[in-house]
């Protein structure tokens, strides 16, 4: 599965958004468009990304630009691997 698809699956599970995740594309806006993406959800997503991809995400990498779109989040993960 591509990184973007895996990231989308993680968002789907941790945010419990079902079909809304299936419909996401690279340019789909995350922060600000998904009400479920609050601070607790951001931490859940970050933790799951760390576990799934075996990467380590630092506090200063948890910022709005990373979570802007599905594409930006997937690119962030890609760059960490």
């Amino acid at each position: 599965m591509s990184i973007q698809k895996t990231v989308r699956e993680i968002l789907k599970e941790t945010l419990q958004i079902g079909e809304r995740a299936d419909a996401m594309t690279e340019s789909s806006v995350l922060l600000g468009q998904i009400p479920e993406l609050d601070s607790m959800a951001v931490v859940s997503v970050v933790t799951r990304l760390e576990e799934q991809f075996g990467i380590s995400i630092h506090d200063d990498e948890i910022h709005a630009e990373t979570f802007a779109t599905l594409g930006s989040l997937a690119a962030f993960v890609e760059a960490k691997r």
Partner: protein
Amino acid sequence: MQAQFIPGSKGALLGVYFPPAASVPHRSNLIYIPPFAEEMNRSRWLIASAARRLAGAGFGTLVIDPYGTGDSDGDFVAARWDIWIRDVSLCLDWAREQHRVPALLWGLRLGASLAVEASRSGADPDGLLLWHPVVKGRQFIDQFLRIAVAQAVTKAHGARSVEGIRKALTKTDEIEVAGYRVHRDLIDAIDGIDLSKAGPGPSASVSWIDVASTTEAEPRADTRETLSMWAPNNAATLEIAVAPQFWSLPEPEAAPDLIETTLHRLEAMK
């Protein structure tokens, strides 16, 4: 379901008891110890549904709100690890006063860690049922403090860091994270948890169940490390159940595999 207040070491504790079905033999009582802060809220529904299922098979469950949480006495900022530890023993005593059946501890996440530590500090449960324990307390607190970091991101405030928050905690006694005011003594105590360093009390039989998204998942590294350290003194069983991490999900989710695995384990325990 029977709700009552049980005297704790610092204040009254709300305990909701799910009695076993009258049509089956009463096998044992479980004292359920919930996870930390928001995880406790998010897992309530599933725990109630699990307790009902277990009750149908002859296992009574006492679901407690630890001191400072839920409807028990005390504010969260007054909660301390050692109060919680002492109260575990008091709840075991309560269960043994009610019925002459084995009394086990059932913990989820940090509640499981608390159960292990309590069994080492004077509580003598007849068994431990551990759901996805927190092995390394410091890492757990880092993730908790990260919520405050993420709060800054989602609200476009100034940047915070876990390190910055920890530094601030050396100068102040309390911190607020996602609506929870936590005292630094409690954070210090949780930071000090490392289940891989010392096992539960010798008499307890231990059933450890982690959740994963598939049956083919590898056990967590923390789990493997911990159980191999415990092995000389404690023969714990390890199972992996397919279930979502329901304690961190805002909407209730079912976890039938976890509950059935648990029932199977309980029936196999003494």
